[in-house]
């Protein structure tokens, strides 16, 4: 009997018109026929996994998925329908406010896409420029209207705080404008200084300082303002507008189910250059190189750069660690069901430690981080991780070699 198909699918679109100053995602400006070639390769990769995938969440991320042309989208969407991958309960596409058009929005909506995530980052023109974003403030409003008109009733925007030069006042008005826009969901995160990004170089060169206190204040401001406005935080950086009548203990109904799936340890396929996936104990990642990715698929292979088999305990540690990013923490029953391990006894020392610091709390049914604990989710995560058991193997196959990703 074939195993249960995988229910989650991520697709990476590795193109951006221009690289943002802070960005460490794999993306590059599209050159020549590269996008065309990528689309063809992606279709092959979709074909490859389609037997084993019946997604109820699909997420197109990037890069800038909205950079694909209408025709290219038609190819991709057509393939998804043909392969039985369309029609998930939640289907998200990331968009850049500068590349949203009415035609594209329509096309996506008609194909079954029902959630849009827009990378806005800021409502302040100067900061947008500072970050190297290609869109203007006005384009945000315009794109949002287009999306609504196309029938998208579930829209997220991404916002950034602690941007060099951003004052508390500027951040406050960004929050206010985001709320006024009326999206269903907000993702808000701190500027991160990733190696090899221009912003990091500027920081190293001493062009500005990071102000930890201001960053903390901004985050507190965010959490409070959003709560006042009827949003529910369900993860460190994620907020969903609450729906009347929903249970305050459950994960909000407008939460991004696809991402919740990651934190809850659901298997998921990852397609496209640099995409990661986790399927039946095997984590793998595609090459972060579009040309190589295309070449491999043209030769009839998936383009895995690496794969590792995680021991059940290591995987459980990973889930214990990252599941705590959610406000709901880990219901003990669910953790056991997902991982086969008992959180309460297996992580007793860590739980005690976190509670002693005032960072964690144990309820009848769950363990979760407190509000102050959520500020130290990485430290908590580091505690919960379990070292890879010696028996597990870390495979690093040569480029393009086949890995048994499908059950025979």
């Amino acid at each position: 009997m074939p195993p249960e198909p995988v229910r989650s699918l991520y697709i990476h679109v590795p193109f951006c018109a221009h690289k943002c100053e802070y960005c460490a995602f794999y993306s590059a400006p599209p050159g020549g026929d590269q996008v065309q070639r990528y689309v063809a390769a992606l279709v092959r990769e979709l074909e490859w996994i389609s037997d084993d995938c019946r997604p109820d969440t699909v997420f197109f991320g990037g890069g800038t998925p909205s950079l694909l042309t209408l025709a290219q989208w038609e190819t991709v969407l057509g393939a998804m329908h043909r392969l039985g991958l369309a029609g998930p309960a939640e289907w998200t596409v990331e968009c850049n406010p500068a590349t949203v058009s009415a035609d594209k929005a329509r096309l996506l909506r008609d194909a079954g896409v029902n959630r849009i995530s827009m990378g806005v980052q800021s409502f302040d023109g100067a900061l947008l420029e500072r970050l190297g974003r290609i869109h203007t403030r006005d384009q945000v409003f315009r794109s949002f209207d287009i999306l609504r008109q196309a029938g998208f009733s579930n829209v997220n925007i991404d916002l950034m705080f602690a941007i060099p030069g951003q004052t508390l006042d500027v951040w406050r008005s960004t929050i206010a404008e985001a709320l006024r826009l009326g999206t269903e969901h907000l993702s808000c995160y701190e500027v991160i200084y990733e190696d090899d990004t221009p912003l990091y170089e500027q920081l190293k060169a001493g062009q500005f300082d990071v102000d930890e206190d201001l960053t903390c204040t901004m985050y507190d401001e965010l959490v409070d303002r959003l709560a006042d406005a009827g949003f529910r935080q369900y993860e460190i950086a994620n907020f969903a507008r609450s729906v009347p009548g929903e249970s305050p203990d459950a994960i909000p109904s407008r939460a991004c189910r696809h991402n919740v799936g990651y934190w809850r340890g659901r298997d998921s396929y990852g397609l496209g250059p640099s995409a990661s996936e986790y399927v039946r104990g095997l984590r793998a990642r595609n090459w972060a190189n579009t040309t190589l990715y295309c070449e491999q698929l043209e030769r009839g292979r998936r383009a895995k750069e690496f794969a590792e088999a995680l021991s059940p305990l290591a995987r459980a540690g990973e889930l214990a660690a990252f599941g705590l990013r959610m406000n709901a923490g880990w219901p003990f029953a669910e953790f056991r069901e997902r991982t086969g391990f008992d959180l309460k006894t297996g992580w007793a020392e860590e739980i005690r430690n976190l509670c002693a610091r005032g960072w964690g709390e144990v309820t009848d049914t769950a363990f979760r981080l407190t509000r102050s604990g959520l500020r130290f989710a990485d430290t908590a995560a580091a505690l919960m991780l379990r070292p890879e058991a010696p028996a597990s193997e870390n495979a690093r196959p040569s480029a393009g070699s086949r890995i048994p990703l499908k059950a025979a």
Partner: protein, 597 residues
């Protein structure tokens, strides 16, 4: 060779006055080495020695010189280290000689090291032949050099030989002076063999090679001789000399220098200063010389704790050829396992550290150097303390005595004010001020050794823009108000930073260290107090404020494994940190501060 035709001598000089160049000339002129074999600076064998222009080991070389009187003489040149750190080694080289060439640079004149070296040679009753070198230089000032010779060294100016080692001028005159003025060695009149061991080194094939000066009797292969120190009797395998490469000889006779081997595998069995005696009919031992006493101690730790064994082995190898170096295991809460090492002085310490890095590829960190204190306890017992961490409880201490040195500082007259300031800042007392020439003065002062450890020499150089020079010799102990300065992190003492400091300086140093530590200790999830304390009393405090948060970042599917690896790496890194007062301190932080304090 009969003793009447043997001359044993050393060359002493301030650095760069031309000792090595002159040695090379002498080897060349006596045909000891052919021109084509001449390599610049033949005697400085080790790379590091060449680079720093200093000689660490004694190198004896035997030359045959046909003098103007037509007779052949065996001249044994015993090269000496050129820095007072090695005064001990200088004096043991000198003890194998009857005379010394004192080189003075005609353009520079007498320098601090010239004075210190002459003191050593005079203590050994050597006949000193002054050589005014570099007379070829356009700014050579021979009359002035002669004047300084009379005034500072108290040697009649007419005894000076004028030379240019570089141009080959005066070389004959020097050789003749050696033959005529250096006394020939005389047998001691004892009943049998007496040979002084003045150095040794380890050879992988021959075992320990012992450098000797025969004072009585003779040494031949096959002889059974006794090493009084180990009490062992050994059979001599090989006898020889150097020119400068070793060559075997039939025997070494009274007054001669050279080497012997006897299949000795452990350098520990051979003690420099010991007398080799006939095993069946032993004569009295020669006076020998004082035990080596390291003057400066410091902990040396591997940066990577896993390298401890390798460090120990490297150190043992270094010790094979550096009998002055001592070490024993110590451990520090902050730095893990390491070695407490004793050095003759700061330069010696630097050289050893550098050799560990270069020749053995070791990544090391050295703790703050310490001199050897004498501690008189209330019950009258005296203890030596070379590691501040082991200072006894102050309530049982009556007095702490610190070593002092007699320092010679020569400087341009216009810098005298600044130098007097520096010396008094270093708790020194100036005993004498002499005019050397129209431009320079010499200050003779008494300074606690602990004060010249770190930056005294560098500061003299910078005040005098390089024209000043300094040298010193140990000058006993003095009672002193030393206090132990401890650095604490959240209440726990960080032993690597403990030091003995004079009371007048403790507060300042405590403050500086606390401020430095504050800069390098990363924020923790709680506030960290850094304190400097003297005997439990806090004299300085800095606070590292608590970290308020982790970074609020995206973390979705693809990021999970990346993030996990990052966190695991941090966790791994934490294991390598030293947890002190429950504060995780990266080792780099210690290193940063130790490097700069």
């Amino acid at each position: 060779m009969d003793a009447a035709h043997i001359r044993n001598f050393s060359i002493i000089a301030h650095i760069d006055h031309g000792k090595t160049t002159l040695s090379d000339r002498l080897l060349h002129r006596t045909g000891t080495v052919a021109t084509r074999d001449m390599e610049e600076q033949l005697l400085d064998a080790m790379d590091l020695e060449k680079e720093r222009g200093i000689t660490i080991k004694a190198h004896p070389v035997t030359m045959i010189y046909r003098a103007r009187n037509g007779e052949d003489y065996e001249l044994n040149l015993i090269d000496t280290p050129g820095h007072v750190d090695f005064a001990y080694e200088v004096s043991r080289s000198l003890s194998a000689c009857e005379g010394a060439l004192l080189i003075i640079d005609a353009a520079q004149g007498v320098e601090a090291q010239t004075v210190a070296n002459v003191h050593l040679a005079m203590k050994q009753n050597l006949h000193i032949i002054p050589v005014i070198n570099k007379i070829d230089l356009p700014h050579a000032n021979i009359p002035q050099a002669k004047q300084q010779l009379e005034d500072i060294i108290a040697i009649p100016a007419e005894e000076a030989v004028l030379a240019s080692a570089k141009e080959g001028i005066g070389i004959e005159d020097i050789l003749e002076a050696i033959v005529q003025r250096v006394p020939a060695p005389k047998p001691t009149g004892e009943k049998s063999l007496q040979a002084l061991i003045f150095d040794s080194y380890f050879d992988t094939y021959k075992g320990v090679v012992i450098l000797v000066r025969v004072f009585n009797g003779e040494l031949r292969p096959g002889m059974m001789v006794k090493l009084p120190h180990s009490g062992k009797t050994v059979e001599i395998k090989e006898v020889g000399s150097f020119k400068p490469k070793p060559y075997t000889r039939e025997k070494l006779e009274v007054g001669e220098t050279g080497y012997i081997t006897a299949n000795i595998k452990s350098p520990r069995e051979v003690k420099v200063g010991d007398t080799i005696l006939d095993s069946r009919n032993p004569a009295a031992e020669l006076p020998g010389f004082q035990e080596i006493h390291p003057m400066v101690f410091s902990g040396i730790y591997p940066i990577n704790t896993a390298d401890y064994e390798a460090l120990k082995q490297s150190m043992a190898k270094l010790q094979l050829n550096d009998s002055a170096l001592t070490f024993q295991t110590e451990s520090s809460a902050a730095l893990g396992f390491g070695l407490r090492c004793g050095f003759l002085g700061l330069l010696h310490m630097e050289i050893v550290q550098e050799r560990l890095r270069r020749e053995f590829d070791m990544d090391i960190i050295a703790t703050y150097p310490s001199v050897v204190y004498r501690v008189r306890m209330t019950d009258g017992v005296e203890k030596e303390v070379d590691n501040p961490a082991f200072l006894p409880d102050v309530t049982y201490i009556d007095t702490i005595f610190e070593p002092v040195v007699k320092a010679f500082v020569i400087c341009p007259s216009e810098n005298i004010g600044d130098l007097m300031g520096l010396i008094s800042e270093k708790r020194g007392v100036i005993n004498q001020t002499e005019t050397i020439d129209s431009r320079r003065v010499m200050l003779t002062c008494r300074i606690p050794m602990n004060e010249i450890l770190i930056d005294f020499h560098d500061r003299i150089k910078s005040i005098t823009r390089g024209y000043g020079s300094m040298d010193y010799e140990p000058d006993g102990y003095e009672g002193s108000e030393m206090v132990k300065l401890d650095m604490l992190v959240n209440g726990e003492v960080m032993d690597a930073f403990s030091s003995l400091v004079h009371r007048s300086k403790a507060e300042n140093r405590g403050r500086t260290l606390a401020a430095k530590l504050k800069d390098v200790i990363p924020k923790q999830q709680f506030q960290v107090a850094i304190q400097a304390a003297i005997g439990g009393k806090i004299i300085a405090r800095e606070t590292v404020s608590a970290m308020r948060k982790d970074v609020t970042a995206k973390c979705y599917g693809g990021d999970i494994s990346r993030k996990r690896k990052l966190l695991e790496k941090q966790k791994e890194g934490k294991k390598r940190m030293k947890s002190m007062g429950s504060v995780d301190i990266p080792q780099e932080a210690f290193i940063e501060v130790l490097k700069t304090s």
